[in-house]
Amino acid sequence: MEHGTKNLDGSFLKMNCEDCQQNISPHLDGELDEVSSASIRTHLSVCAPCAKLYEDFAVILESCRDGAPSEIIPPNSQALWCRINNLIESELSQEPPIEAPRKTWLSRGWNLTFSQATAGVLAIAFISSLLTVVGIRNYFEPSGEDFTSRSDTSQTTLEKILSKVGLVETPQQARERRMKEQQAAIDYWTKRVSERRNQWDAKMRDAFDRNLNLIDESVSEYTTILQQNPDDDLTGEMLDTVLNDKMDLLREFSDL
C-alpha cells in the first residue's frame, strides 16, 4: 500500500508500508533523521495497519522501559568485547585456507554438445515468449478492475485466446481460486471464534450472529445469481466483498 499525503509545503511525502514497517524500530529508537521520521509519522497518520504495528512496537518498548532490567550487565563491557573479538580472530586464524577454484564458470570452455545447445536455445526462446506474453497481457488488461471479479464478456481478445490455450486463468477460474482462498481463511477464523465465543456476553453474541447471518444471506444470494449468470461482473465483485467482510468480522471478534 502506498499513501500520498500532502505535506505542509504542498509537496507529497510518499512511503509504502514495507519501508515504513522496516523503519518503525529505528524510528522508535530515535536513530532516524528528522526527514525520515516525518515521513514515517505522515504514513502512520493515514495507514491503519502500520499504525497498529507501530502501536505493538510502542507497547513492547514501553513495557521494557517500565520493567526492571532483567539482564546482567557485565562489569567491564569494553573488556568483554575485547575478549570476544580476540576469540573470533583466533578461531579465524585456525581455519584451513580455502582452496582456490580451479576454473571459473567463464574460464571454462564452451564445450557443449549439439543437444545441450539446442535445449539452451529452446529454453531462451520459451522464456522470452513467456515474458512477451505477460508483458502484452499486462498492457491490455483493463485498469481499475479486479481480475477475480471479471467475466468473459469483459475479457480482452488476447486474454480470451490465452485462456483458451491455458496460459492464463479464465475469470471463472480466478474467481473460484479466490473463493477457495477466502473459504480457507474463513474456516480458520471460524475455528478461532468458536473457541472464544462462550466467553462473550449475550449482547456480543447476538450482535455477532446477527451480522454473520446477514453476510451469509448475501453470500447465498450472490452465489445463486452467479450460478444463473456467471458473467455478472457486479455480483462477482459483491460476492468477493461480502466474503472479505465475513473474514473481517470473524477476525475482529476472534480477539475478544
Binding site: 499525503t5 497518520s45 507501530y54 446477527r210 446477514l214 461480502v242 475478544l256
Partner: protein, 257 residues
C-alpha cells in the same frame, strides 16, 4: 410522670430504628450506584496534528475537534469496569480497550467523550456501539464498527474519510477535498451523505439489493447506471477526489449542503 417518660423513650427508640433502617437502605444502594459507572479522565498535551487511535469493545465513542493543543479523554465505564490505559507515543495517542482487557469476559460498556485538536487525525473503531466524530479537519477520519452501530460524521474536512459498519446508519456531513479519498461501506442501513454542491468527485455508488441510490442535486449527464441500476458511476465537477459508497442491503442518498 415516669409513664410519660417511658412512652417518650419508646417513641424515640422506634424513630431511631426507622432512621437507622432508612440509612442502611441508602448505604446499601449508594455504593451500588457508584460502582455502576466509574469515570476516567485525563488530558494530554499534543501537537495540532496528533493522531488518535482508539479501539473500543462496546459503547459509544464521541470525538470532537477543539482549538486547544491537547487531547482530553473522558471515559464512563459501566460495571464491570474495563481497564483503560491510554498510551501517548511520538504524537500518537493509543487507546485499546480490547488489548487492555484481553481474556476478560465481563466488561461493561465504555463510553468515550474525547476532544482533540481540530487538525488531528482520528482513527476509531469498536465492535459494537455508535461512533460520532465532529468538527475535525485533519488528514484522516476513519470510523469502523465491526457489527451493530451508527456512524455520524459532522462538520468534517479531511483528506481521507472512511466509515464502515455492519448493521446501522452512516451519516456524513462535510467537505470533499481535492484529491481526497472517501469511502463509506455498510451491510444494512441508510447511508446519507451531505456535501457542498460545488464538490468535485468521481463516484462509484453500489446498492445491489435495494437499487436505492438517490443522487439528489448531484445527478447529471455524466452519471451512468450500470448492472440494472445496482450501481451508479460518474463524475461531478473535475472529479479529482474519489467517492466510493457501498451498501449491501440499504439505501444511499446524497443531500446538497
Amino acid at each position: 410522670m415516669a409513664r410519660i417518660l417511658k412512652n417518650r423513650l419508646l417513641f424515640l427508640t422506634g424513630r431511631t430504628t426507622i432512621q437507622l433502617l432508612l440509612l442502611s437502605v441508602v448505604f446499601l444502594f449508594a455504593p451500588a450506584e457508584g460502582a455502576a459507572q466509574r469515570r476516567f479522565s485525563k488530558t494530554y498535551p499534543a501537537s495540532p496534528v496528533v493522531r488518535l487511535t482508539l479501539t473500543n469493545r462496546s459503547g459509544t465513542v464521541t470525538v470532537e475537534g477543539w482549538d486547544r493543543p491537547e487531547v482530553q479523554v473522558q471515559a464512563y465505564l459501566e460495571a464491570p469496569a474495563a481497564n483503560v490505559n491510554p498510551l501517548m507515543v511520538d504524537g500518537i495517542l493509543f487507546i485499546n480497550i480490547v488489548k487492555d482487557n484481553y481474556g476478560r469476559a465481563d466488561i461493561g460498556n465504555v463510553n468515550f467523550n474525547i476532544r482533540v485538536p481540530a487538525d488531528a487525525a482520528v482513527d476509531i473503531e469498536t465492535k459494537i456501539g455508535n461512533l460520532n466524530v465532529s468538527s475535525v479537519r485533519g488528514a484522516l477520519v476513519r470510523a469502523k464498527i465491526s457489527s451493530d452501530g451508527d456512524i455520524t460524521l459532522t462538520n468534517i474536512n479531511a483528506q481521507r474519510v472512511m466509515a464502515e459498519n455492519g448493521i446501522g446508519n452512516i451519516f456524513f456531513d462535510g467537505d470533499i477535498r481535492a484529491n481526497g479519498i472517501y469511502r463509506f461501506t455498510s451491510m444494512r442501513g441508510d447511508i446519507n451523505l451531505r456535501v457542498p454542491f460545488n464538490s468535485s468527485f468521481k463516484l462509484i455508488a453500489t446498492a445491489p439489493s435495494t437499487r436505492s441510490i438517490n443522487l439528489g442535486s448531484f445527478a447529471n449527464g455524466n452519471m451512468r447506471f450500470v448492472g440494472d441500476g445496482r450501481r451508479v458511476t460518474g463524475q461531478v465537477g473535475d472529479g479529482s477526489s474519489t467517492l466510493t459508497v457501498t451498501n449491501q442491503r440499504g439505501s444511499i442518498a446524497f443531500i446538497r449542503r
